[in-house]
């Protein structure tokens, strides 16, 4: 995978792709999955990140998602945003087709 997870990152969220359609999803505080980054649970230490990833893993067995992983986020205004270009593109959709992906259906993700 390109743009590998920064091993020293402290502010983290968990993402995966949904089994049924490959849709990008985020692990939430409530232990479910959301299509929207704004719903993502964010933790602020590497240890908490690993613990959150472990909580997300049963969703693989439950046939909800494929390949959960941690990614780095940063504080942005009153909320957070992904750090890497890759995760920003996953969050929104292709930058060359603004009519496709999450950005088309939910312009304020």
């Amino acid at each position: 995978m390109a743009q590998h997870h920064n091993q020293t990152a402290q502010t983290l969220a968990v993402t995966a792709n949904r089994l049924l359609d490959g849709e990008v999803v985020y692990f939430t505080d409530g232990g479910s999955w959301s299509e929207h980054f704004k719903d993502a649970a964010v933790v602020r230490s590497k240890g908490d990140g690993e613990a959150m990833l472990q909580r997300a893993m049963p969703s693989v067995e439950a046939l909800e998602v494929i390949g959960p992983y941690l990614f780095e986020v940063r504080e942005a205004g009153s909320g957070t945003a992904p750090v890497s270009v890759r995760e920003n593109i996953r969050m929104n959709g292709p930058t060359v087709r603004l009519d496709l992906g999450k950005q088309a259906e939910h312009p304020r993700v």
């Binding site: 359609d21 046939l63 494929i66 270009v85």
Partner: protein, 555 residues
């Protein structure tokens, strides 16, 4: 073009139902992702950034209008209304749902198409010259042999689990339009000592993280020996190719490590051993004839080379005149031309086409080119058989849909991989760079003045955008999550194949298009006597470009 026989139908139909069962077992939990992944990859189904991606095979790039309409139907019914033509002459869909894929494969099978061997460590789609069978400079049509190779390599039990993927290209013309020097096996049709036509065989070319130009291991191979010789090469690779290191697993590494001479000896020994076992790998003449018949010359009319209506339109309309000059090529039959449809309008996405445009192109193929078209490895489409007198009508119809960009082989005819906008492997975006370069050089007169210049862009070292063989090659690199772009100069995939040399440190996202501008300006200042970019580069080398680039961008 080739039509499926009962065996083809059976194989493809059975595979659809096998995959339907595999998807059902995955969705019920009977198969884990680890178990399912190799099965889905065998059917061309990847998981990318936003969704699954299905890669459909277009054998040697040839499509009927009926098949193109079905591809449009699939784009509309199961995807988001468009498809993407790739550098391996295939088609990709970027948004299919897993549960729909068996139905997509069924729709493909209905028009004699499939997604077999578009992924995995097997022999991939055989590619060829988009002008095959019609070009004026052709020794012989390579498509019958591409079809024979397709049949031989499809579900070949010995070669379904190779050390790594394996790509074969075949070219029948004097000009290499299939990039045979950059394939695992490259086959060029050649004339033997007594005048008969056979093959020259190259092995060990490729791009990716270790680009290499293929080496010739057989100057002349009789046609009857083609499959036995291919089998020998694949056996040597299967036996000695590395399986312990993904980055050293392609046949090019084996050829590089043991040397072309040793490779040739291994292959010849294996070839001799195969021949000792009998002639089971010789294609029977009756079978060759059966396949040749599918590629028989079309029912061409007797026409003169000069079409007065086309000449009149050329003189009256400079846009048509430019398209005629840039996008059409000589045909071997008097009165016919080869016409290329660029998928690269200014600011467009190279290789993308909407379902509506695909339907329109299919209609035009029916009207103007015997209901057939080709996908090119430069991500464009080709109508191989257009009457000279129809060219203006074709151009007008294309122009009305925005499909008449007159830029084949010019600076805006860029190859670009999907890059980080879609691809899970990419480090950086490719498409936006291509779009910005295209806008920078949109002026038709400027493009004409620059002349033939291939810019190829890859979003990662895997080189799907063929950056190593771009006259100007751009490689996206990730520096701590930030996109940078490395530039290579002097690559070429034609007869004098060469790998581009890196010009210097990578450029930031907001510097790269200006850097390309500087390179082009340098070339225009340095060129003499009507040189093309590659001529100038080969004469003056990297240094003048280094000096202007790194002076102007303050590196």
């Amino acid at each position: 073009m080739y039509r499926y026989d009962e065996f083809d139908h059976k194989i493809v139909t059975e595979r659809v139902e096998q995959f339907r069962g595999q998807v059902a077992r995955r969705l019920s939990g009977e198969l884990s992702e680890d178990e399912f992944k190799p099965l889905r990859l065998m059917n061309g189904l990847y998981l990318q950034l936003h969704a699954y991606m299905l890669r459909v095979a277009v054998p040697y790039g040839t499509l009927s209008s009926r098949q193109l309409r079905q591809l449009a139907h699939i784009a509309r019914e199961y995807d988001k209304g468009y498809a993407h033509f790739t550098t391996r002459q295939n088609v990709q869909y970027n948004w299919p749902r897993l549960a729909d894929v068996p139905d997509i494969l069924k729709d493909l099978a209905d028009v004699e198409m499939h997604a077999l061997q578009t992924s995995g460590n097997c022999i991939r789609n055989i590619t060829t010259d988009p002008y095959a069978g019609v070009s004026a400079d052709e020794l012989e049509d390579p498509r019958p042999w591409a079809e024979i190779l397709r049949q031989w390599s499809s579900l070949h039990p010995e070669f379904s689990f190779l050390p790594r993927k394996f790509k074969i290209a075949i070219n029948g013309a004097k000009e290499d339009r299939a990039a045979i020097l950059f394939h695992d096996i490259g086959i060029g049709m050649a004339r033997g000592g007594n005048g008969e036509i056979g093959f020259r065989v190259y092995v060990g070319g490729g791009q990716g993280r270790t680009p290499m130009v293929a080496e010739c291991i057989r100057e002349f191979l009789p046609k009857t020996d083609l499959l036995a010789y291919m089998e020998a090469i694949l056996r040597v690779y299967n036996r000695f190719g590395r399986r312990d290191n993904l980055y050293k697993s392609r046949i090019k590494i084996l050829v590089h490590q043991i040397g072309a001479e040793a490779m040739a000896k291994q292959v010849e020994d294996e070839f001799a051993a195969i021949q000792k076992q009998g002639d089971t790998l010789n294609v029977p003449p009756s079978e060759v004839d059966r396949i040749l018949a599918y590629f028989a010359p079309k029912n061409y009319e007797s026409l003169g080379d000069f079409a007065p209506e086309t000449e009149e339109a050329r003189l009256a309309d400079e846009n048509f005149a430019r398209w005629l000059d840039v996008n059409t090529a000589a045909h071997k039959i008097p009165g016919y031309r080869i016409a290329n449809i660029s998928t690269k309008p200014v600011g467009g996405i190279p290789g993308d086409m909407s379902a509506d445009d695909m339907d329109a192109v299919a209609d035009l193929a029916d009207k103007f080119s015997f209901s057939e078209l080709r996908v090119t490895h430069k991500q464009n489409l080709t109508f191989a058989d257009v009457r000279g007198k129809d060219l203006h009508a074709l151009w007008k119809a294309l122009d009305e849909r925005g499909l008449a960009s007159a830029n084949i082989s010019l600076i805006t005819d860029q190859i670009a991989c999907p890059g980080l906008d879609y691809c899970n492997l990419a480090n950086t975006r490719s498409i936006p760079i291509a779009q910005e370069i295209s806008k920078r050089f949109e002026d038709a007169e400027l493009q004409r003045r620059i002349g033939r210049l291939h810019i190829n862009i890859s979003g990662c070292i895997n080189a799907c955008g063929h950056h190593h063989v771009g006259h100007i090659g751009i490689l996206g690199v990730d520096k701590k999550g930030v996109e940078y772009y490395q530039v290579g100069l002097g690559g070429s995939s034609d007869n004098n194949g060469s790998i581009g040399k890196i010009v210097g440190p990578a450029f930031a996202r907001d510097e790269i298009v200006d850097a390309i501008g500087t390179i082009v300006d340098t070339y225009l200042k340095q060129r003499v006597n009507g040189e093309e970019f590659l001529d100038t580069y080969r004469r003056i080398g990297l240094q003048p470009f280094k000096e202007t680039l790194y002076d102007t961008t303050q590196h």
